[in-house]
């Protein structure tokens, strides 16, 4: 009986080790819980005449690139520290983030599809859009030289189409997906004529992982690319083109129940100190900033 028990114990321990090994390779998807602001027991330095709730939790709907790259984990604790507001992040494609705004499920949006953002404002869902930061898209692909490193996005896309080269498309209505489709459209071609063009309908990180496995090409934002742990055989094949600029905008959703907190987020993220913080993200690890301030 005792021996049996030891055997079970050994197997159980092995199981835990295997499972935790699996867990070790997975990247954290949730930001570390931000420290909860102190309750209003401490007296305000400047007494406010109208008593309105100064803290609470706001919901930010944003793109997978800000989350997958680790930017939000890097800057958001500072937001809570400075403003006292807690923040909840829903990271989805830009299309879905805008939809969350339309449905009133989010208070602020941090997204990157300029034409869609302008439409969102025009439809009255937000009063205005503020510039926050930008980075750029790059085309990555196998290093074995089917396409040499260049800065001509149109030639690169045509080479992929004409060569029937494998290309992984996000296919999820995200800002990156929308940009990719805009480039194909500007060339007046249909990517689906390429029999090796596939749509995976997943976030940037998952899509990059599949591209690595398939030794294919894809359009990715530079931040997710640099932050991705193992890119295998892939290198950047096209970068530095005007069509590849990737501006991020922030908007307060008109229907927000926390206008104070939402406005605090806008003021905070466009503030010079935060902008400075954004520009330092990734420098230590990747030797270059992943996002450039634009506010």
């Amino acid at each position: 009986m005792k021996r049996n028990f030891m055997l079970y114990l050994a197997v159980f321990v092995c199981l835990i080790i295997v499972l935790s090994a699996c867990g070790g390779t997975a990247q954290p998807t949730q930001p570390a819980p931000a420290p909860v602001a102190e309750p209003a027991s401490t007296p305000e330095p400047t007494p406010d005449p109208e008593p309105e709730p100064q803290t609470g939790t706001i919901t930010l709907a944003t793109t997978t690139s800000t989350e997958d790259s680790g930017l939000l984990d890097f800057i958001l604790p500072n937001f809570t520290e400075v403003t006292g507001w807690d923040i909840r992040v829903i990271s989805v494609g830009t299309g879905a983030a805008l939809q969350l705004g339309r449905d009133g499920e989010a208070d602020v949006l941090l997204v990157h599809a300029r034409t869609e953002e302008d439409r969102f404002v025009a439809e009255g869902y937000a009063e205005r859009r503020h510039d926050v930061m930008y980075n750029d898209f790059v085309i990555v692909g196998p290093s074995d030289g089917a396409i040499a490193h260049n800065d001509d996005i149109e030639a690169t896309f045509m080479a992929i189409l004409d060569g029937n080269l494998p290309f992984v498309s996000r296919g999820d209505n995200s800002g990156t997906h929308i940009r990719e489709l805009q480039i194909w459209e500007s060339l007046n071609v249909s990517p689906e004529d390429n029999t090796n063009y596939i749509e995976v309908g997943q976030g940037m990180g998952a899509t990059l992982g599949m591209t690595v496995e398939m030794d294919a090409f894809t359009l990715t934002d530079r931040a997710t690319w640099l932050a991705y742990p193992d890119v295998g055989n892939l290198v950047i094949v096209c970068e530095g083109n005007e069509l590849l600029l990737n501006p991020y905008g922030v908007m307060v959703v008109s229907t927000t129940e926390h206008p104070v907190g939402a406005q605090a987020f806008i003021d905070w993220i466009t503030n010079p100190a935060t902008q400075q913080l954004i520009s330092t993200f990734g420098v230590a690890e990747f030797g270059q900033p992943l996002f450039f301030p634009e506010a």
């Binding site: 049996n4 055997l7 079970y8 197997v11 199981l15 499972l19 699996c22 997975a26 989805v92 494609g93 299309g95 879905a96 805008l98 939809q99 969350l100 296919g171 999820d172 209505n173 596939i198 749509e199 995976v200 309908g201 997943q202 976030g203 599949m210 496995e213 398939m214 030794d215 295998g232």
Partner: protein, 223 residues
Amino acid sequence: MTQILDAEVLAIITLTLRMTILSTAISSVIGVPLGLWLDRASFAGKRLVVMINRTLMASPPVVVGLVVYLILMRNGPLGFLRLLFTFEAMVIAQVLLITPIVCGIVYTASQRSSERIRVFALTMGADKRQTRSLQIKELSNEIFFAVITGYGRAMSEVGAIMIVGGNIRHHTRTMTTTLSLLRNRGEIEQAVFLGAILMLIAFSVQMIADFLRKRERRADENF
């Protein structure tokens, strides 16, 4: 993917049915005999095997998906088969998920009834083979239930097939991965429609199961 029911959606439904039926069939072919055998057999470490079986019955699909992914990936042990992001990979992951469920249910049912049946068969002078066939016949309802439960898991599962199939349009996109994508895209209407179809299929499976069981009972009454 703007239309509610177009050729693409139909293809997704067909692919889902093909995948779930195939993986349930394979799981049943492996799991049912395994469950029956596990009840009959006695060997050192049997309790451990049963415990592992019980654990695997509750294994989270994403863990199974991750394991299959690591095995099938380019640098994995079976990477040379080039099976990742294919229909076959999804079936493999589902078989790993469903077989323990089928096996576990059959084992439990068999364990509960086998003693009675064996004693009965023995008193009726049945030989070993007759006893076994009587046992299977008596357990047919439970085996049926095990298969249906396995099928339910196959239909509802999304975590594993998302990882090993990759949700590739026209290729490995199933009803559940499409639903998840539609939500990500913010196309809630279409998602609700697909969800309704999924529920309808689940209901149809139950109706067929119910019908078959009734027919079987009627056939039994002839004895």
